[in-house]
């Protein structure tokens, strides 16, 4: 269809907007809901999506021991996600439990950061993604465990213990792969270069973060950043890897503007649940 004839074909003449319809001028920004719910969804979706990605490895790891380890990480993260999404559903008060939130939301309603939805790639990509996330996650849980929201503080306390182990595991692998062979070094450096553009989003602060302070949830990105830098720099140095420059940072996950990968992940994850609406499992 040519643009010149488009208006005629649709049967709409210029200036013909009928009275009584909604104004055509709308808000610029994305439509965000209750800040506390948004905050819990961000935390929960990060862990649900990353846990799901890790579970894709199940049975395909480079060694049997690593199959066991990756499953452990996936189990911890999905367990954390279930608690966080349950809490989000309770706060929201519309009768949605963790499964309704996991299986019956569309991609644009997910609030995870872009980093966690990136495909597994090779084992090096998976471990770099894990390491960048874990280093941030332990700092977030530390802040939240001491925070004023009792439900969230309880989740954070347990999750902190788990994620400290995750960080140790992923750090060790980044060091092993970086310091290992010429091939492993090249692969893991490439993974780091590719994924680095998704790290900036971890430290962006928006109106949701401001608003949840009223609930005693203090996520101070500015305070977390230097500590994350220190963890990352230490591991990269031991791995003989070069820290990429902070250029062309990508963001959007927190407001539902994802990469195209998320839709495919959800299509797989949600297929059985959505094929049988109302069924119990």
């Amino acid at each position: 269809m040519s643009a010149a004839h488009g208006d005629e074909e649709l049967g709409i003449a210029a200036g013909e907007a009928s009275a009584g319809t909604r104004p055509v001028a709308g808000a610029r920004g994305p439509d965000l809901g209750d800040p506390l719910v948004e905050c819990l969804l961000r935390l929960g979706d990060d862990r649900l999506i990353l846990g799901h990605r890790l579970s894709e490895w199940c049975g395909h790891g480079p060694i049997l021991e690593e199959d066991i380890a990756l499953s452990n990480l996936a189990l911890d993260l999905i367990g954390q996600a279930a608690s966080l999404l349950r809490l989000a559903g309770e706060v929201e008060g519309r009768g949605r439990d963790e499964d309704a939130l996991a299986y019956f939301r569309d991609g644009v309603q997910f609030r995870n950061c872009l980093l966690v939805e990136q495909p597994n790639g090779d084992f090096g990509v998976t471990m770099v993604r894990q390491f960048l996330f874990d280093a941030h996650s332990v700092l977030v849980w530390e802040a939240l465990a001491a925070g004023g929201h009792p439900g969230l503080a309880a989740v954070a306390g347990k999750a902190l213990k788990e994620d400290k182990y995750h960080l140790r595991h992923s750090s060790e692998w980044v060091v092993r792969l970086g310091d290992g062979t010429a091939e492993s070094h090249a692969r893991v450096q490439r993974a780091l270069d590719d994924l680095w553009r998704f790290t900036g989003e971890l430290f962006r602060r928006d109106a949701v973060d401001e608003a949840v302070a009223a609930h005693g949830i203090a996520l101070d990105a500015a305070a977390i950043r230097p500590r994350w830098d220190a963890i990352v720099d230490d591991v990269l140095a031991r791995a003989t890897l070069v820290r990429p420059a902070d250029a062309g940072m990508r963001h959007g996950g927190r407001t539902g503007r994802h990469t195209e990968h998320l839709g495919h992940l959800l299509a797989t994850m949600q297929i059985v649940a959505r094929s049988h609406p109302g069924a119990a499992w």
């Binding site: 649900l48 199940c58 060694i63 499953s71 792969l177 310091d179 492993s184 692969r187 797989t268």
Partner: protein, 321 residues
């Protein structure tokens, strides 16, 4: 299978060994054992370990599609347990003087066997319940007896593994019961899955003992404690009432209760299918081996990196010292 000729054993040592077995003693790694015993155990244990590792694939196939977070976590945990069992039994084989990596190479190049059940595809979510119920159920019947096997390390491994397998079986049956109480589509999905897995589950016990080349010696040395047919009958007797309880049918028109023997008598098993699968012509033989080989090949650079790093670390600490 055994390329090496069986060595002539010292009759006095053999008699003493068989006396210990007859007295119900357990044989430990450092004890004298006939070469045939060592080989039979290596064969059984490595096949068991391979089965655990290949068995991760059909269930792993549905982890990403599990319809609730609780089920997703149970399934990940189950597949993780299977990896653990595989590792545990591979380590057990090392007590017999074989190298785990040699055994694994035999799996990858297709010369080692594993349980034929894992060459069947998982086509629906219900298979995750039915595998737990029927496949783990059949495995437990086998393994409960193996927990009393004469070789100590294998017997002890079985005690531990049986506990976890029992949990898997209960979980699988509970999943089936949930589907059975669900929507018409869920019930149909369950019934179709039972129809696909029933006969392969019965074949898991192996051919009738009259046709099983290894059985007599294995029984005499108490590597096995019951015949394949005895175990299969025990499984059927346990399972039929479970099927009745959740209202699924079993795909065997000849299935009937014999009040005299108190056995559930079942129809003839199509052994030609079993031998086809064993020969490599099952529905998923190629796919399963290809998946294991792919994971192994794609993991090579990772394993090499770990080895190289370890060597560098060792060199650095020597330098520092």
């Amino acid at each position: 299978m055994d390329p090496k000729p069986t060595p002539q054993e010292d009759p006095a040592l053999l008699a003493a060994f068989e006396a210990r077995i007859a007295a119900g003693e357990s044989i430990e790694p450092k004890d004298w054992m006939p070469e045939r015993y060592r080989r039979q155990l290596t064969r059984m244990m490595s096949q068991h370990a391979h089965s655990e590792v290949v068995g991760m694939l059909p269930e792993g196939n549905w982890i990403t599609r599990a319809p609730s977070l609780r089920r997703k976590m149970s399934l990940i945990a189950k597949v993780q347990d299977e990896a653990g069992h595989g590792l545990y039994i591979y380590c057990g084989t090392e007590t017999l003087g074989v190298d785990r990596f040699d055994l694994y190479r035999q799996l990858l190049d297709g010369t080692a066997k594993y349980s034929s059940i894992f060459n069947y595809p998982t086509l629906a979510w219900a298979d995750m319940g039915v595998i737990g119920w029927l496949v783990d159920g059949a495995a437990i019947v086998n393994q409960t007896v193996l927990a009393k096997t004469s070789y100590g390390p294998y017997a002890r491994a079985m005690v531990r593994i049986c506990k976890e397998e029992n949990f898997h079986k209960r979980q699988g049956y509970e999943l089936c019961a949930t589907l059975a109480a669900g929507t018409p589509a869920q019930r149909a999905m369950l019934q179709d899955s039972v129809n696909r897995f029933w006969w392969p589950a019965l074949m898991m016990f192996g051919p009738s003992d009259t046709d099983s080349p290894n059985s007599a010696e294995l029984l005499r040395w108490r590597v096995k404690r019951k015949t394949n047919d005895e175990l299969r009958q025990r499984f059927v007797n346990l399972t039929v009432p479970q099927a009745q309880a959740i209202g699924v049918t079993l795909p065997d028109p000849d299935l009937r209760f014999d009040p005299e023997t108190k056995n559930w008598v079942f129809g003839a098993i199509d052994w030609s299918e079993f031998y086809e699968v064993i020969k490599g012509n099952g529905p998923c033989n190629q796919e399963r081996l290809a998946a294991r080989n792919r994971a192994h090949d794609e993991g090579r650079w990772v394993r090499e990196a770990a080895t190289a790093h370890q060597a560098k670390q060792a060199a650095r600490s020597t330098e520092a010292a």
